[in-house]
Structure formats: C-alpha cells, structure tokens
Amino acid sequence: MTATLLEHRRKTPDQSPLDELLSAAPATAGGPDAIVVDGLAKRYPDGTEAVRGISFSVGTGEVYGILGPNGAGKSTTIGILGTLVLATAGRATVAGFDVATGARDVRRHVGFAMQEIGIDGVATGIEFLVLQGRLHGLSRRDATRRAHLLLGLVDLEDAANQRTGEYSGGMKRRIDLASALIHLPPILFLDEPTEGLDPRARAAIWETLERLNAELRMTIVLSTHYMEEADRLCGRIGIIDRGLIVAEGSPAELKASIGGQTLSLHYAPDSPAELLSRVRAALLARDDVLAVVATDGHLSVEVDDAAGVAPELLRVLQHEWAAPEALSIKQPTLEDVYLRSTGRGFGEEEELAA
C-alpha cells in the first residue's frame, strides 16, 4: 500500500542534522489509511483484559495520539500494532499488512520506540545505530552515515563512541528514538516517547517529530499520558480508558465536544464528602450547568458562559451551601475531555493502575 518516492535535495553548508537526514530521505506517499484497527482485543494469560475491542484508523501522514493514564491499554495497543504483542481477538493492518500474519512485512515499514527502552548496553552509540540500520536492510555505508546524522539530531554526537550502558536515562531515551528512525520508516510508533526527558529535550523531540511528519508525511502513532504532548503533536486523538476508546477526534473537536468552559471550584481538602456531593447535586439541578465532576475536594463545573454564570453561582453557593475557597475559570483541556468521558481524573486512574 505504501510506496516511496526518493527526494534528493541539495545539501547546503548550514544544514542541521535533521535537514541533511531529510534531504536524502524517502518521502512517503500511499493510500488513505496507514493503519486500520478493527475490534482489537488482548487478554493476558493472567486474565487481565488490557484492550477490549477497539477500532480506529490512522490516515497516511497523520499524527495519531493514544491518550490515557498508565494502565489504560496504550502500550498494549501500540505493542500489537508494532507486532510485539499478540492480539487475542480482532484484526489490525499496518502499511497494508496484517500484524498477525504479516509481522515481518509490518516491521519493514515501521520504526518503534518502546516505553521500556531497549538498547544494547555493551555497544557504543554508533555501533548500536549502525546495527539497527543494517538489520533494516541498509548498507554499512548508508547505516553509518545516517547513524551519525541521527546522533547529531538527538544531541549525542559527543557520546557516539561511548557504550550506551553508560548513558544517562535521557540519553538512552534519545538514542532509542534515533534507532527507530534509522531506516526512516513510513510509519513510526512511539510509546511514551518523551517520558523522563527534561523540557528542553522534550521540545527538541517534538520539533523533530513535527518536521518528520510535515516533510516526509511520516505517519506517527504515539501513546502518551502528557496532555500537552498530545495537544501539540496530534492531528487526532483516541482517548483510551480501561481498554476502550471512549472519545476520538482532533484536540479542538474533543475540547469543543464537552461544551463551553469549566468553572473550577476548590474546597478545603478536609471538606466533608457529603457536602461536596450535595453541592454537586444542587449544581446539576440548574439549567445553566451542563455537567459537574467531583474529584478530591474539587468540582469541575461545565457551563456555556463561565464569566456570566460565575457571580450568580457564587452567590447561591455562599447563601445556601458553602462557598468554595477558590474559583477559577479555564478553557476546556484534554484532561476535561477525559474527565467527562470517564467520570474520573487522570491522577485517580493512574493511582488505581499503580
């Protein structure tokens, strides 16, 4: 399904490693869907149902995010697509190949940076990348050239001849990502790609991914629990909760789907749960309130016009129930979408998963 077109651009003296890498890279063209997932499910031998019949598709050149807290089924989903996890039901095709019956063909078309970093600690950085490239069919010369460019791209040129076992956690994460790019795959799977990175390194990786997607039409599927990451990088997002996709759309669509704005009412941490419950019920009874979600002494109140409703709401709460310690107005975020879709906060779910 996916064909490649070789693009050759002139190298200029001030090119960055990414410019140079892109200059000789195959640009991806192809059919409309790079990935099609249909009723995919995974039950582990211990009975855990990590994924419970999910379906979605990812268009060629799209950046698709699988967003959810730890334990939601993100890594299992991406693992199945990357052929490292065997599905127990359903079907998925990647680059036109079935992940169950055409695993080797799938691997030729994808790069995969896993959540658990997989590097050869005895090899040097350059050796590690060259071997990965050669296993993907590159000649020694091409693999070496690309490895040097990628080391520059992930800011590890100085550590090229150092054993990767001696790298810091952030360096390991970066070289792992570089290894997923060595063959410039048309489809890239990234499982929590910026986990453990400092803000500067994270921003640099975001920029790289944006350019790979923009200039090569590289299809990128990334799982993340960072809202900001999903919001910035992804054209579409599937929010996954307990193995099911509970909401899907572009970040703007998802945020718009939950209505206008959110009023956050903060109560003292020792406020009785009964009080919050009664306030919530009273708020829900009002016509100008769309939804209320309670989490840890905090009520998220969705309304159409927060600034207009807030004064009246405060007055009523003060007179009839209990005034909050603080009130803030915020635009909808992906976390609000998650809250609305599942009735729980990200933090709560991650605590449960832990």
Partner: protein
C-alpha cells in the same frame, strides 16, 4: 548466510563484544585447564592398566576436556539471550525484520567460534604436557568442530530454550551442572571395560555424549575412524532435529 543476513550481523555483534566482557573469556577457560591438569595427574596411573589405549593419560583426557569447554561454555549464549530480554534489547531487535531464529542462531554461532578457540587452548595445553594428536592439525580442527557442534545442539539449544521460556539469566545458570553430568557419565576418565558397574555401563551406552567423545578420542589417539566420526555427526544431527520442535514451541512465548 550472506554478509547482510541478520544472523551474520548478530554473530558479528557478539564477536565484537566478547573482548569487552573479559570475565567471560577469562573465567571460562582456566577452570577447565586446571581440571585437565589436576585430573590428568590424579588418574595418571590408569594408563598402566591392561588394555589402556595410550601411555600418556593427557591424550586420553583431552577430548573430554574439549567437551568440558564447549558444552557448558555454550550456555553463555543463553545467558546473553536472557540478559537481552531483561534489558529490553531483545524486543528492540524484534522490531526489526530479524526473526527470533536469527537472533538465537547469531548468538550461538558467535559463541561457537569462541568455544572453538577456547577448545583449541585445551589441546595446546595437552600438547605442552606431552600429548600427541594422531591426526595432526586437521584432526584437531575436526575434533574442535565436533565438540563445538555438539555443545550447540545439546546444551546450547536446551539453555536457549530455557532463556526463551524464563527470560531469566539465573534460571539458565541453574542448569549448568547438568552439562558436567552429561560429560562425567561417559568414558571420559577410564575405558568402558574398566567401569565395573553394569548400571553405569548402560548409562554410558545411552548417553549421546559418549558417541561424540569416542569419535574425538579416535582422532586424538588412533586416526580417522570414519564410522565413529559418522556416528558422531548422526548424533549431532539427530539432537539438532530433536531440539527444533522444542524451540518452535517456545518461539511464540517471546511475544507478549
């Protein structure tokens, strides 16, 4: 296997990395050499028994010492495989078009090369202690080849499967003593005629190691006994074929 095949690339990877782990090289050969010298000294009087095939006990012992190097030594492949599981690198390799078969074979071949050389060190020591190899340099190479292949198809395959199944280097290491049992339950130290126990004789006859050892001993003491050499290769081939279903069975356990 061409220069770009995953098996060859992974063999090279392991070969390049051996010198970076001097412990494997440094601690795997000296114990065998020491055992060779100690047992050679302790049991030297056996050579005076009637019908013993040589006057130099080290000549008799050398093939067994080669097996003592190659059979337990090949388990390092499985330890490395299990370590790759634990540090996640094996899954990184599985994101490439390389198959688990290539990954296993690449490592086994590299360790085979290492053990071939280490087995050569044992023969050199035997020569230094006055032993002679009846078939000369070519026979020595054939002896090392038989010993190495036998190590791969027996203990190599067994421990690689344990690594696949458990993904735990400690579980692989726990099987090491079995390798010595395989070798001790042979005519490694004395001829079968000198073994008084009928039960032990039966065990020796049933032990495939014995047939490999006999072929190697003929190369050391007498000459090219093609019947014995042929039987050794049949045993090696047979064990290899037997190990295949076990490997296929455990193959899918790699995937989660």
């Amino acid at each position: 296997m061409n220069a770009n095949s995953p098996t060859w690339l992974l063999t090279l990877r392991a070969l390049v990395q051996f010198p970076r782990n001097p412990m494997v090289l440094g601690f795997s050969v000296p114990p065998v050499l020491m055992m060779f010298v100690v047992f050679g000294t302790l049991f030297a009087a056996v050579r005076h028994l009637p019908g013993f095939p040589t006057d130099n006990y080290y000549e008799y012992l050398a093939p067994a010492a080669v097996l003592m190097t190659t059979v337990p030594g090949i388990a390092n492949s499985a330890v490395a495989l299990a370590t790759d599981f634990q540090n996640g690198y094996l899954y990184k390799l599985l994101t490439t078009p390389a198959s688990i078969g290539s990954i296993m074979l690449g490592r086994l071949l590299a360790d085979g090369v290492r053990l071939f050389i280490q087995g050569g060190a044992v023969l050199l020591l035997a020569l230094a202690l006055g032993a002679q190899i009846a078939t000369g340099f070519a026979g020595a190479l054939l002896m090392l080849l038989i010993g190495t292949l036998f190590g791969i198809v027996t203990f190599g395959v067994l421990t690689a499967n344990i690594a696949l199944k458990t993904k735990d280097p400690a579980a692989v290491q726990a099987v090491f003593p079995m390798a010595f049992l395989l070798i001790f339950l042979t005519t490694a130290y004395q001829t079968e005629d000198q073994v008084e126990s009928g039960v032990l004789r039966a065990i020796i006859d049933a032990n495939p190691t014995e047939y490999v050892l006999r072929a190697m001993r003929e190369l050391m003491l007498t000459g090219y006994d093609w019947d014995a050499i042929g039987l050794a290769f049949v045993v090696i081939l047979g064990l290899g074929v037997l190990g295949l279903p076990l490997t296929i069975r455990n193959y899918r356990s790699v995937y989660r």
